[in-house]
């Protein structure tokens, strides 16, 4: 490469610089978006926690039956997959889609029929291309989802469950652990497993005491009705929280990816500049040599 063309090297430096400008800008945008997404995720916590607590209390109250807790022979499963709308976010979309695919595969091996409900453009594209049975493509955009959209989304999920189109709902999404770590995971949304709720309650004995005390609570018109009215709110709250969570993860993943690509770009510029300077030096030396040789010839 000693005789590298100066022009070529210069052009390459220019193009890497342009790329770096873009990745730097994307990093900054992702950083500010991440901050607001984190705030939203934190703000939605108290609402959801209280909802969850109330549900646990009603559940632990008496042994009643609700359509949402029925456990019949599970034949059809709806898998809700939350991914991003855009790429260039490192392994974010890939990780969650891979987990979803594994989940679907294992469900199919157990002889279940699987329907996919993708949310976010990347998820829709992915499952469409692979010819999965798609339940709905209504929610292509997962960015900036409002609570009212989350409510209509949960209504869609619940109505399918109530009408018996599927009898189990799984949710695959990415949870935000820290700016550097985001984990893809899957949870069961419906039917609501009373064991699950109780399992969580056993976390501390204080919770159990609290549950016992609430046995004297008055429910109007009835515990069942309050519970059934609670479920749509619980599901929409759950979906809203996980969408906000997934969005924060996407921004964090994008920030990290863009940060490392900016670093790579500046490294590349350094080595290219070295190459450029060397080539320039070689050219000057050569020119000097030619002049000196010419002079010597004249003498």
């Amino acid at each position: 490469m000693a005789t590298a063309n100066i022009k070529d090297v210069k052009r390459r430096i220019k193009s890497v610089e342009n790329t770096m400008q873009i990745t730097k800008a994307m990093e900054l945008v992702a950083t500010s978006k991440l901050r607001s997404a984190k705030e939203r995720a934190v703000a939605s916590q108290p609402y959801f926690n209280t909802l969850y607590e109330t549900m646990c209390e009603i559940q632990s109250d008496r042994g009643f039956k609700s359509i949402y807790t029925k456990k019949e022979f599970l034949k059809t499963v709806l898998v809700v997959v939350l991914a991003g709308d855009r790429g260039l976010a490192g392994g974010f979309n890939h990780n969650v889609l891979k987990l979803a695919e594994e989940k679907i595969k294992s469900l199919k091996q157990d002889g279940r029929t699987v329907k996919v409900f993708p949310i976010g453009k990347k998820a829709v594209e992915y499952f469409e291309k692979r010819k999965y049975e798609i339940y709905s493509k209504e929610y292509q955009i997962s960015e900036n989802l409002t609570m009212s959209r989350a409510i209509s989304l949960s209504k869609k999920v619940i109505s399918g469950f109530r009408n018996g189109i599927y009898d189990k709902v799984e949710l695959v999404y990415t949870t935000f652990v820290s700016t550097l770590v985001q984990n893809a995971l899957s949870i069961t949304v419906l039917p609501i497993e009373s064991d699950d709720l109780k399992g969580n309650e056993q976390g501390s004995s204080a919770d159990i005491d609290k549950a016992k005390k609430s046995a004297l609570t008055l429910y109007e018109p009835s515990a069942e009705e309050v519970f059934d009215g609670l479920i749509p709110k619980y599901i929409s709250g759950l979906l809203f929280c996980s969408i906000v969570d997934s969005y924060a993860s996407e921004q964090a993943a994008r920030r990290t990816a863009m940060e490392s690509s900016s670093d790579n770009a500046s490294e590349m510029i350094d080595s290219l500049s070295l190459l450029y300077n060397r080539a320039r030096q070689a050219q000057i030396t050569q020119e000097l040599n030619e002049i000196v040789a010419g002079q010597m010839g004249n003498n």
Binding site: R40, A43, Y47, S148, K155, S214, E220, V226, K233
Partner: protein, 134 residues
């Protein structure tokens, strides 16, 4: 009157966290008022006005559907949206009301009935609270 702890929470924020002497709220069974030392109580609430009375006077807000929970620790209201009377965008509520009514009168859009009905109730609650305030 004896004050008690009141907390009103929406998915977006904690709307109210403080002390109140009395609240009046619309449930599926009708309007109820909650004073201090109420028994433990849980019910579903529908879109409607919410009155909060504390030592400084009475304030009114428009509430969307949610749940009400009275426990030893205090009263918690969970709702998908809440606004103080002076925060309501009356024009927007009127628009929402009209849109919901259009859907309800259009028989070809039967699948949207439930949603439109809830939206209509929400808009009506906002309009009535806002008008009383003006």
């Amino acid at each position: 009157m004896k004050p008690y702890k009141l907390k009103i929470v929406t998915p977006e924020k904690i709307f109210f966290d403080g002390e109140a002497e009395q609240i009046t709220i619309r449930t599926t069974e009708g309007d109820i008022g909650i004073l201090a030392n109420h028994i433990k109580y849980v019910c579903n609430i529908v879109a409607g006005p919410l009155k909060i009375k504390d030592s400084s006077g009475e304030r009114e807000a428009a509430l969307s559907e949610g749940i009400l929970k009275v426990s030893d620790e205090g009263v918690t209201v969970l709702a998908s949206a809440v606004e103080w009377a002076d925060e309501i965008d009356l024009e927007r509520a009127e628009r929402a009301k009209k849109k919901a009514e259009d859907i309800l009168s259009d028989k070809t859009r039967a699948d949207e009935f439930d949603r439109a009905e809830i939206k209509l109730k929400r808009a009506l609650a906002r309009i009535s609270v806002s008008k009383r305030y003006l």
